[in-house]
Amino acid sequence: MSTELPTVNRTAVEVSSLGKRYRDGTQDRVVLHELSFVAPAGAVVAVCGPSGVGKSSLLNLLAGLLAPDSGQIVVTPQGGAAIAVHELAPAQATLYRRRHVGYVFQFFNLVPTLTVAENVRLPLVLNGLESQWPIACERLLALGMGSHLESFPETLSGGERQRVAIARALAHSPSLVLADEPTGNLDAMNTRRVADLLFAQARAAGATLFIATHDAVLAAAADMRLDLDQVP
């Protein structure tokens, strides 16, 4: 199977008529129905809504981890051709994520058996971009993790782990950064610090950031807000 990505001539992140449902016992549970939006390149998009509304599902659909039941997702990377994510075969989706997507989770952000430096290097190694390690390392230093390069994640605090996760998500200069409640497990001080760093770093890298959150302050700081519970 070809691992070249199918392209179409569109711009930014464009989602149209997106639908996703899960089989829940004997019944189908619809989490996304006819969702459409356009996110400009470099924008910070807050994905809001109560639990179970489909925030994580939307992020996983954008990452190509899930296939939609209906609709289209088109992502246009910086300086590249548009990618029809909804049409990607599994191997193509893996390649798409590796090249164009950075991901930050609420929990378990790091590979426990790799050091901080190795975790951040990992996307560079996978993409054959190890020459960019000095840039990624500088980002780590800017995030205040310079003294922890050879530490393993288990020795870090929650806030430190999320900072390393941000550095890793941006290491290979992805066009799309997806953050799934990245501050949900942090105290108020760390929430603010991590959010500021994430927004600043994403904007500096020119990446489009989708952040799923319950935090109203965080959502207010975004360029665009997507309330999934208000989608018709």
């Binding site: 994580s56 893996t94 590796r98 058996t113 990992l122 996307p123």
Partner: protein
């Protein structure tokens, strides 16, 4: 007990098992194979045991010991019986005098006092059921003859014998007549003489051994010898010497039983390893339930109960398949000669299987639960003490000969467990080194995962190491044995053609005729006689012992008069060494007193069921008088095919070529060890299941890392490489343990197990060939498990 709660938790555990079909199936198969292995060996043991019971001389049924003394007479017996009646020998509950001898035409006559047997309710009386007043008055003495049909009448001298029972005929044994003692005295002469007194000795140890034997056929061969009764003025020896075939069969069954238990042990490790993985995966939920107020023991009981429910059908399948396995093993061992009837699984074997299956589930699951939920780590003093105890058992089991076979196997078990349980500390010890290692990230990750999570992987590694080590050990032993056996056949079967003459007459005339043929270069005749050495039955073989003939038995010179070569098994049984003297009890009717022989050499006799002494014809003449009976002829010829064709059509003579006998012997050897091969492959199969479960379970238990790697765009190739690193590392560790352990095991099997089980020794000569297949199979199992570990993917469940 909160039954409703237990039921609810049990349902939850069963649903979890259903959600992990791969590991559940492999545990199911592991338990089934473990049970199948012990059931198959048990049924095989029962079958072989019954066959050997059928071959046991009828007068020895339930007899435990044989009492002898020099110049034994009926008066000695009367005095002994009087002492017994007075209660002096309270542990003896049956006593029967025995008279035996060889008639002039080679027929062996065994006479027992059937009234004494009747008093003692010994089974032999049942065989003489036809005896009654009318038949005795009619003048027909009852006799049991192998191969003869009831009611046939045999006449010897002036005595008419009527066959009352038929026994299966035995090949290459002197024809034996079992008669009443009075009849034996009339035929053999000297009615005051006795040869032995058979007794049944009761002791707690003997009763215990008898019970264990019914549960585990062959186990008594491994137990220390039960103490013999002490009778002043009498030599006492165990009855096993009278029926050495049974001792050999029990020793074989003991070894097979131990080997059959290997799969059960490996399946226990599989269950333990999988249970640990399952508990890790459920730990968050179980901890939450405990926080909600659910008792820890209730959680544990429901978890183990779910494993038990899985174990029930697995055990049933194991019992069902065990029947088939036993038939297959027996067919592979006996080939076309299969005439043994396979018993149906009875209550004992079903109970044994149920205990084994339940034991694996409860012990494996329970240990895993205890390990995962214990509050404090095991005190290191306990660990050190356990290691010390196992080392002491291992040393004593080998160094103390009285520990017998069970001592050797206890030693093997301890060393294997020590080797197996060294994996976890070994991996932990490598952790800091793995953390500092360089190389590709996937390599670093794979190596670190193995050293970081030894509890998830090490027991599977230990199971594989044990299975491979046993396979190597048995392979090395069999290879060494086969080499020695082949050399023995080369030296023993140097002649081209062998004749065995039934009835034992006319051998010398036949040899003279054959010797005159132009195709023959040398013809020798030989014969053998039954006798006793210190009460132990022996076969005395005789021929012209030239230097060439002696070399067949590994001795360089011709045998002088009064010199003897004895079999290694006899030397061990009678505690004789080269240079010592031995006194053969000669037959009274030949009117020769006991003669003293000098032992000048030992020879090996693998597979021989009795004890043998080889002497020159002159010595035999002195012992047994002339003329001697010769029943074998050996022919040397450069045109053996011509000789064989000329011998065709001879009646009463069995003709065999040396080459065919050698081939047949080696084929029988290989078929016999096909059983051990099958049992070790079963253990390898279960250990492969443990590796599969460990690596796939590890991937599932590390699902968050797996999901993270997915989002980073890690592809199948990366996962495969990492999984192969994990599997390869475990495989290398398993082989690193298995190779030295297997070689040690092979050495122990040669140096300790064979001498203690069978009385013969095997030179330990390791070679590469027996290592290849186990190493290759372990490699394949590792690669397959590594591949499975890469293929399996944790279910992807977004939170919303």
């Amino acid at each position: 007990m909160n039954i409703a709660g237990l039921r609810l938790l049990l349902r939850s555990s069963l649903r979890f098992l259903r959600s992990a079909p791969g590991s559940t199936l492999s545990v199911f198969c592991g338990v089934a194979i473990g049970v199948l292995s012990i059931t198959g060996v048990h049924l095989l043991g029962e079958s072989v045991g019954q066959a050997f019971d059928g071959m046991r001389p009828p007068h020895l049924g339930e007899i435990t010991h044989v009492l002898t003394r020099s110049d034994l007479t009926t008066n000695d017996y009367a005095q002994l019986r009087a002492r017994w009646r007075l209660g002096e020998l309270s542990s003896i509950d049956a006593m029967i005098p025995l008279r035996e001898g060889v008639l002039k035409d080679g027929v062996r006559m065994v006479g027992i006092d059937w009234i004494a047997a009747l008093e003692a309710r010994l089974p032999v009386v049942m065989l003489f059921g036809g005896i009654n007043g009318s038949s005795r008055n009619a003048g027909d003495d009852p006799v049991i003859v192998e191969g003869e049909w009831p009611e046939e009448v045999i006449r010897i001298d002036d005595v008419q014998l009527r066959v009352v029972h038929r026994l299966p005929g035995r090949v290459d044994q002197p024809r034996t007549f079992y008669v009443d003692m009075g009849t034996a005295a009339r035929l053999l002469g000297d009615d005051k003489r006795l040869d032995a007194v058979l007794v049944r000795h009761r002791s707690v140890a003997a009763s215990g051994a008898e019970f264990l034997e019914s549960v585990m056929p062959g186990i008594s061969a491994g137990l220390p010898v039960a103490p013999a009764p002490e009778v002043d003025g009498w030599q006492v020896h165990a009855v096993d010497g009278e029926a050495p075939g049974q001792g050999l069969a029990k020793a074989v069954l003991f070894n097979l039983g131990a080997l059959g238990s290997l799969s059960l042990l490996v399946s226990l490790l599989l269950m333990y390893q999988t249970a640990v993985i399952w508990l890790r995966r459920q730990k968050v939920i179980l901890a939450a339930l405990h926080d909600l107020g659910v008792d820890r023991w209730l959680l544990g009981v429901s978890f183990v109960a779910a494993l038990l429910l899985l174990g029930v059908p697995a055990t049933a399948l194991g019992v069902f398949a065990g029947d088939g396995l036993a038939s297959l093993l027996l067919a592979s061992a006996l080939g076309d000669n299969m005439s043994v009837i396979m018993p149906q699984p009875g209550a004992a074997v079903i109970l044994k299987a149920a205990i084994a299956g339940a034991g694996v589930c409860v012990a494996g699951g329970g240990l895993a639960w205890w390990r995962e939920w214990r509050q404090l780590p095991l005190p290191s003093a306990w660990v050190r003490l356990s290691v010390a105890v196992m080392v002491v058992i291992a040393v004593i089991g080998l160094a103390w000969p009285s520990a017998g076979l069970i001592g050797v196997f206890a030693s093997i078990l301890c060393i294997c467990l020590l080797a197996g349980f060294s994996v976890t500390p070994l991996l932990r010890g490598w952790r800091s080194r793995a953390n500092r290692m360089g190389g590709p990230v996937w390599l670093r990750m794979g190596v670190r995962e193995v050293t970081w999570f030894p509890d998830d992987l090490s027991i599977a590694c230990a199971a594989l190491a044990l299975a491979v080590a046993v396979s190597i050990g048995v392979g090395v032993m069999v290879d060494s044995f086969r080499r020695e056996f082949s050399e023995l056949l080369d030296s023993r079967l140097v002649n081209d053609v062998y004749l065995s003459i039934s009835g034992g007459s006319g051998a010398q005339e036949l040899a003279g005729t054959i010797g005159s043929w132009p195709e023959t270069s040398r013809v020798t005749v030989s014969g053998q006689r039954a006798s006793r050495l210190g009460g132990i039955p022996v076969l005395v073989g005789y021929t012209d012992f030239t230097a060439a003939e002696s070399s067949r038995y590994g001795y360089s010179r011709s045998l002088a008069k009064g010199e003897a070569l004895i079999s290694e098994t006899l030397a061990r049984a009678a505690n004789l060494r080269v240079g010592q003297t031995l006194q053969i009890d000669s037959e009274s009717e030949l009117e020769i007193a006991g003669r003293v022989l000098s032992v000048v050499g030992l020879f090996k006799g693998y597979g021989e069921l009795g004890f043998r002494i080889m002497v020159d014809t002159d010595t035999a003449s002195t012992l047994f008088g002339s003329p001697l009976q010769f029943d074998r002829v050996s022919i040397d010829s450069r045109k053996s095919s011509v000789v064989l064709s000329r011998l065709e059509g001879l009646t009463g003579v069995r003709v065999s070529s040396g080459r065919t006998m050698r081939q047949d012997a080696l084929e029988t050897f290989d078929r016999t060890f096909a059983i051990t091969d099958a049992l070790t492959w079963l253990a390898m199969l279960v250990s492969s299941g443990a590796m599969f479960n460990a690596l796939t379970g590890f991937r599932l238990s590390q699902q968050t890392t797996g999901r993270l790697l997915d989002t980073l765009g890690v592809d199948f190739g990366w996962n495969l490489r990492t999984s192969m690193v994990r599997a390869g590392m475990l495989g290398m560790i398993a082989l690193g343990i298995a190779l030295p352990l297997g070689l040690w095991l092979g050495w122990v099997l040669c140096e300790y197990v064979n001498p203690r089980a069978f009385g013969w020794s095997i030179g330990f000569s390791p070679s590469v060939q027996p290592l290849l297949l186990p190493v290759l199979l372990a490699g394949l199992a590792t690669v397959a498990a590594g591949f499975a570990g890469a293929v399996v993917r944790p279910p992807f469940r977004p939170r919303g």
